[in-house]
Amino acid sequence: MTIEPAVMPAAMPAAMKVRGVSKTYRDGSRTVKALEGADVDIPDGNFVSIVGPSACGKSTLLNLFCGLDKPDSGSIEAPVLGNGDLLGRIGYMPQQDTLMPWRNVTDNVTVGLECLGCGREDARRRAREHMDRFGLSGFELSYPGQLSGGMRQRVAMLRTFLCGRRINLLDEPFGKLDAITRASMQSWLLDYWQDNRCTIVFVTHDIDEALFLSDVVHLMCPRPGRITLSLEVDIPRPRKYEDVVTSAHFNGLKATLLQSLGRDG
């Protein structure tokens, strides 16, 4: 089922509500219209993906979501969090893993909790409880430089999730991983999300990844960045990677997205 434009029916309470958001920034001497009139609803507890080609404004939108930047016009609200500044209240996992090379795995994971005022020892104890689930057991005392790309991403993800935020934004978390590691991380993330229901906004340029993971896929087109299509992914959960990505229904949804990309992109 496709709904145009991006506003979903108000059946579920919205975790985030974005209305008419525009953002222009200066890149040297030229001005770049990164977003123009973007409307999105993120239903509470949903896994929502934002897909689009490189430089279509996805990261700009995420920066607005987590309050790091302010829109030039329009509004961004998080009704489930109440009123107030979004900065510091929404989980965010940046594209780079941004691990601190001088801290070991445990102490990298606790960074978020420490910022929130949690004591070091208390934070470490809570981190250790999750090491196994995140496949980091035995690596608690390793330094980031000793880890593989997939493990580094899991450290960064645990750092974000450990803060227990109701809304979490993930910016191309698997973008730099090889295809096999990527598929296993996707399945792992879905399992984790199914057990710990929170709202996830997942940015990617990989259509397969977005469809496999999400309840809703929002398609973005560049210059200026805007949402051109919102697609509800009615594939039943729990989803198994090899079954889902080979199914006819999956390919039908994929065709819809690709056609829209070809038309607007």
């Binding site: 920066n63 987590c66 309050g67 790091l68 900065l87 510091g88 209240r89 929404i90 989980g91 965010y92 940046p94 594209q95 780079q96 941004t98 691990l99 601190m100 090379p101 001088w102 801290r103 070991n104 960074v111 978020g112 420490e114 910022c115 929130l116 390793s142 330094y143 980031p144 430089g145 000793q146 803060c163």
Partner: protein, 252 residues
């Protein structure tokens, strides 16, 4: 020092041996260039004087070094925190390094007398600058993405500095500290030349005036060994503080 102490020690021994042979063979006046054996004899016979004066210089040097390091670090952090302060202060900090230390030192003696203060101040004056400059550079090299991440965790500027900027600046800060330590030996001696009653710098003047060249060489030798040990102590502290660097494949 992977290959160990042997290469530098062997080279040093070779130079000393050549020096000894040259002085003896050419019949050089020991007042102009004493043979190493005479310097060694002088050191052995006057060990007491060397130790007590060396201790005085070491104290001045360490007090000055730590004061200079703390001042440099604080200035660096403040200059990084406030852009206006950096712009206002930077030319003046450079100016402090343009003033010749031998010209400043007598004024310090005039103000503080024949105490430890003018010597430590001279050392601090030379030390703070490399530390401040390297701190500013190191702090501004922190990954901006990491700062943004910490802000989404609700971190304020102080936490961003202590948690991300300072640790990532630490390698640069240690480079500054090593340069500062090398300068501080010169600073302490210059401070003593201008006005003191003890210390290795004082001892040098004393031997020079009395034409005791062997004593002068012995004092320089003590000062050199002290400086080298201090320099490598900073390097050792750096290795200890930055032990994680062994594992860092990429810089952040």
């Amino acid at each position: 020092m992977k290959s160990g102490l042997w290469p530098p020690l062997l080279l040093g021994a070779g130079i000393i041996a050549a020096w000894e042979i040259y002085v003896r063979a050419a019949g050089i006046d020991p007042l102009l260039l004493p043979p190493p054996s005479a310097v060694a004899r002088y050191l052995a016979e006057n060990a007491q004087i060397m130790v007590s004066n060396g201790a005085a210089t070491l104290t001045e040097l360490l007090v000055g070094f730590f004061c200079g390091a703390i001042i440099g670090l604080s200035l660096g952090i403040l200059m990084q925190a406030w852009r206006w302060f950096r712009e206002a202060a930077y030319p003046w900090l450079v100016a402090t390094q343009m003033v010749p230390i031998p010209a400043v030192a007598p004024i310090l003696v005039l103000w503080f007398g024949f105490t430890i203060v003018p010597k430590a101040a001279t050392v601090a004056l030379m030390c703070f600058f490399p530390v401040a400059v390297n701190t500013v550079d190191g702090l501004s090299a922190v990954n901006p993405e990491l700062i943004r991440l910490l802000r989404t965790f609700g971190a304020g500027p102080w936490r961003v500095t202590s948690m991300a900027a300072l640790p990532s600046a630490l390698p640069r800060i240690f480079s500054g500290l090593r340069v500062a330590m090398a300068l501080s030996v010169v600073g302490a001696v210059v401070g003593e030349w201008v006005g003191s009653t003890h210390g290795l710098g004082y001892l040098m003047l004393h031997f020079e005036n009395r034409g005791e060249t062997a004593g002068l060489f012995a004092t320089v030798a003590v000062l050199t060994v002290m400086g080298i040990i201090l320099f490598f102590l900073v390097g050792w502290a750096e290795n200890w503080a930055l032990s994680w660097k062994r594992y860092a494949k990429e810089t952040l």
